[in-house]
Symmetry: C2
Subunit: 221 residues, 2 copies
C-alpha cells in the first residue's frame, strides 16, 4: 500500500497525486503543512518538504524522484515514454516546468500569494506577482505551440510533461492568475487535461483561508 | 560520437562533463557562452541553456535529462544505482544539490559572482553572497554526516550524487568561497572526489576574466 504526504495546493504534491491516478495506483493521501509539522516531515525527509511517498517501509522523497520511482516499480501504465528518445522529450518538458517555469512564474505568483500567506500570513509582493503574470504569457504560448503539433505536450500520449505543466497551472488557476483568454491553444490543452478523472480530486481542493477563482472547477471554463 | 555544448564554469555543464568521464565515454566538448550565442543555443534548446548533448542527430537538453539519457543508453558503468531503492537515494541527493543547494547557495554565490559578471559585467550583491556562504555551512555539515556513514554520498559506490555535489562545489571552490577548514568530513570527501581523473579537466578550466582561488587545482589542499 502506498501512502502520500502532500500539500494540497502545492504544485509538486499535485504532480504526484495526478500521476498516481493516471497510473491507477491506490494510495492513501495525508494532507500536511510542512511549515507547521516540520519535525514530522523532517523525520522522513531531511529536506523537510513534501511530497513524501511511503511504499510499505520505503521512504521516497522529492516529486521528481517519486515519479521516476513509480514508473520503475509500477511500469504497467507508462507516463514517461517507452524509449530513451521519448523519455528525453518528456523529461525535458518536466524540467521546463519544474525548473524554468518555477523560477519565472510559480516562484513569483504561488510563492508570493500562497506560501507567504500560509507560512507567515504575509501579503504578496505585487511587483513580483506582476512579473510572474507577464512571464506566464511566453509559457502559455509555448504550450499552445506544442499543442498545435501534438496530441499532448510531449507527443501522441498523455505523459508526465502534461501532468507537471498541469500541476503548476492548476495552482495558478486556483488563484485566478492564468490569462487563458489570450491563449486559446493552451486553454484547449488545459480543458482536455482538466476533464480527466485524475484531475478531479484537485478541483475539489479548498484552502479555508484562500478561496479559488470562480471558474476553477468548471470543466467548460 | 557524442558532442557536448557546455559552459566551463557552470555547475550543470560540469555535472555532465564529470559523468561522461566516469562512464568512460568519449565526447567532443565545445565551450559556449549561451548569453552571447543565444540563437545558436536556442536552435538546439528552446530554453536557450547549456549543457546540450548531441548523440549523432539526436539533441538532448537539461543536465538531469542528459544524465538519465546516458545512463539508459550507455548502462555499462552505472552511476545512478542498480535498483529502484538505490536510484531513489541517488536521485534524492541529486535533487538536493540541483534544487535545494542551488536555491540556498549556488544562486546566491555563483549567480552573483560569475553569471552577473560574465553576462553584464555587474558587481555581485555582497549581502546575497554572505547569505549563500552562511547557508553553505549546513550543506557541508550534511555532506560530512553522510560521508561518516558511507563510502560515497549515496552509498558504497561513487554515483551521480557525488558528481552533482562536486559540480556545484567545484565552481564555488574556484571562487574560493568554500569554508573547507570548518568541515573536515566534507573536505575529506571532496579531496577523494577531486583526485579522480574525471575531475582533472575541470581543474584546468580558467575564465580569462576571473582567476581561481590559490588551492583550486591542489589535490592536497
Amino acid at each position: 500500500m502506498l501512502r502520500l504526504l502532500h500539500f494540497p495546493l502545492g504544485p509538486f504534491s499535485r504532480k504526484v497525486r495526478i500521476l498516481l491516478r493516471e497510473k491507477e495506483l491506490e494510495a492513501s493521501l495525508e494532507a500536511v503543512e510542512p511549515w507547521r509539522q516540520r519535525e514530522e516531515v523532517a523525520a522522513l525527509n531531511p529536506a523537510a518538504e513534501v511530497p513524501v511517498l511511503l511504499d510499505r517501509d520505503r521512504v521516497v522523497v522529492d516529486s521528481g524522484v517519486i515519479c521516476e520511482y513509480l514508473e520503475e516499480t509500477r511500469p504497467e501504465l507508462r507516463l514517461l515514454g517507452v524509449d530513451p528518445a521519448q523519455r528525453a522529450e518528456v523529461r525535458r518538458l518536466v524540467a521546463w516546468f519544474d525548473l524554468k517555469f518555477l523560477r519565472e512564474v510559480t516562484d513569483l505568483i504561488w510563492r508570493e500569494k500562497v506560501l507567504k500567506f500560509v507560512t507567515d500570513r504575509a501579503t504578496p509582493n505585487s511587483a513580483a506577482v506582476r512579473i510572474g503574470v507577464a512571464n506566464l504569457h511566453a509559457h502559455l504560448a509555448y504550450i499552445g505551440f506544442l499543442f498545435e503539433q501534438r496530441n499532448w505536450l510531449a507527443g501522441d500520449h498523455i505523459s508526465l510533461a502534461d501532468i507537471t505543466a498541469g500541476a503548476h497551472l492548476s495552482v495558478l488557476d486556483y488563484l485566478g492568475d492564468v490569462p487563458w483568454e489570450a491563449h486559446p491553444g493552451a486553454k484547449l490543452w488545459y480543458a482536455r487535461l482538466k476533464s480527466r478523472p485524475s484531475l478531479r480530486p484537485l478541483l475539489a481542493d479548498r484552502l479555508a483561508c484562500l478561496k479559488p477563482a470562480a471558474h476553477y472547477d468548471d470543466l467548460d471554463f
